[in-house]
């Protein structure tokens, strides 16, 4: 699943705290993820937005170990398992949970607002809303 852009480019918007509307609630099924390409995120790298049990998370899409898209990984119990070599990452913190990955992937803040999923590229998940 890939977004085709929303009409707003990420650059310039991220600083305002509005974020980028990447999907409507319900568009990303539980256990699925959406790959937000750099053209949309304005972030330089693709970002994956995950839906796990009613909660949404966003991480850099490319695994920190190999060239694989985490948006195509297996999402379960707060973790995503890389499709290529089965490294697992915590959806909340981006920290690797097992080998072969040793480096964390960056987190991005996601919020659900007005029945939509908003992504704040470049702001960590831990950063509070402005």
């Amino acid at each position: 699943m890939t977004t085709t852009g929303t009409g707003i480019t990420g650059t310039g918007i991220t600083g305002t705290g509005i974020g980028i509307r990447v999907a409507a609630v319900g568009d990303i099924e539980d256990g699925e993820a959406l790959r937000v390409p750099p053209e949309t995120s304005g972030h330089g790298d693709a970002i994956a937005v995950f839906h796990d049990g009613g909660a949404y998370y966003a991480l850099d899409d490319i695994c920190s170990h190999g060239q694989a898209s985490l948006s195509e990984g297996w999402i379960e119990d707060g973790e995503v398992e890389c499709p290529l070599h089965s490294a697992r990452f915590c959806l909340k913190s981006g920290e690797p949970q097992c080998m072969p990955a040793t480096l964390a992937v960056r987190t991005h803040r996601v919020e659900v607002r007005d029945d939509a999923i908003w992504l704040h590229p470049g702001r960590t998940a831990a950063e509070a809303a402005e």
Partner: protein
């Protein structure tokens, strides 16, 4: 037999592959704060082996790209890496080990992660310098220099390493002949459907596939002359690569008097027959299993299990074994033991090249293998490990999302 001290203070890990590094990693993660020394017979930082027969041969990955851990990790985790230090003997009764240079070191626990050595080609001329084996970085470097466009390359053995090497060689423009006495290699591991599709792919990619054993290798002015057993004219080649399996490197274990038989025999927690010695990775064979699990993930798990075993903690049961192999831009993945299945069903259309075979035993999934449908395997693995009962149509019907089977 000496009884183990109450808690380990000096742990020596012999070997430096994934199982060894995984052991160190897991020991620290479990809170072990004593001495931890990693003895590597090779130079440099420990590296990951799967890329050797893929991106390293292709020239896409350098040594720095395949490190298991960055250099800083060893300092951070207080893992003393002794690179280039070959362990000649372990002395579990006296609590020490002896290096090839005569140095003696103390250790109250030893983890054998000595891996395996590639089986040499067991025919006359099989030791010719133009016959390559592939196990180490140096092996890969040496072979890569020979895989030049137009080079005539014979690969003996069409299992995992051989098939990957043949695929790389043909991608690099070599003229490749793949020789194996088995008509459909890997059939026991992944089932006939997947194995057949994989093997036919070699021909489609321009590899000459020959079903035969090798009789002899002779050197002649233009290169090598390889005679095949019961097979017409000899083949001329510039380079031969043998990928015919490994022998577990059990010498150290044997000398120490450990129980050995097709590997160092291990029990839960990777315990060997000596209470202070553990074995992990390719060199270990779980008691009661006929085969060793010579795969990447098994090595990683062994390290985790060994750490728990060393620290005397309970070891969770291992899930179904998993492995992958990359060739011709496609990916093979398999989980479980296909040979134990009493029925096989397919998901996806084999004509597309991407499909999955599921092996059932009664109403349980016990194994699966796929070409290019990795998510099927991720689901299968969880279905197997959780023992979800199901019917064959649950698996074959593409309208059934395999994830939903997990919620039953």
């Amino acid at each position: 037999m000496s009884s183990p001290p109450s808690s380990p203070r000096r742990i020596a890990v012999v070997g430096a592959g994934l199982a060894a590094v995984s052991t160190c990693d897991a020991l620290r993660a479990q809170g072990y704060d004593g001495e931890l020394v990693l003895y590597s017979a090779e130079r440099g930082l420990p590296y990951d082996r799967p890329p050797l027969s893929k991106d390293v041969l292709l020239g896409k990955s350098r040594r720095a790209d395949i490190m298991l851990r960055p250099e800083q990790w060893y300092a951070d985790q207080r893992v003393q890496l002794r690179a280039g230090a070959r362990v000649a003997a372990i002395r579990p009764h006296s609590g020490g080990l002896e290096l090839a240079d005569g140095t003696v070191a103390a250790a109250d626990r030893v983890v054998l992660a000595t891996g395996g050595t590639p089986r040499p080609l067991p025919v006359p001329g099989g030791d010719d310098p133009a016959v390559h084996l592939l196990r180490t970085w140096e092996d890969a470097e040496r072979l890569r220099e020979r895989l030049l466009p137009g080079a005539r390359v014979i690969v003996v053995g069409a299992g995992l390493i051989g098939a990957e090497t043949a695929a790389v060689a043909v991608a690099l423009g070599c003229r490749v002949t793949l020789v194996d006495p088995v008509p459909v290699p890997l059939a026991a591991a992944v089932g006939g459907d997947i194995a057949g599709a994989l093997h036919r792919r070699h021909t489609a990619e321009g590899i000459e596939v020959v079903t035969a054993g090798v009789g002899s290798v002779e050197r002649h002015p233009g290169g090598l002359l390889v005679r095949l057993a019961g097979h017409g004219d000899p083949l001329a080649a510039d380079t031969l690569v043998a990928g015919i399996g490994i022998r577990p490197a059990t010498e150290t274990a044997e000398t120490a008097g450990l129980r050995v038989g097709n590997g160092v025999v291990v029990h839960p927690g990777q315990r060997t027959s000596h209470p202070n010695v553990f074995a992990v990775g390719d060199v270990a064979r779980p008691d009661g299993h006929r085969v060793r699990h010579e795969h990447w993930e098994a090595a990683q798990r062994d390290g985790e299990a060994a750490a728990l075993g060393i620290l005397g903690r309970p070891v969770p049961a291992a899930g179904a074994p998993w492995f992958w192999s990359d060739r011709h831009g496609s990916r093979l993945e398999a989980v479980g033991t296909m040979a134990d299945a009493d029925r096989t069903v397919l998901r996806g259309d084999p004509a597309t090249g991407a499909f999955t075979a599921f092996g059932l035993r009664g109403d349980h999934l016990i194994a699966a293998a796929t070409i290019d449908r990795a998510r099927d395997i991720k689901a299968a693995r969880r279905i197997i490990d959780r023992g979800v009962p199901l019917s064959p149509t649950d698996l074959t019907d593409e309208h059934t999302d395999l994830r939903t089977l997990l919620n039953r």
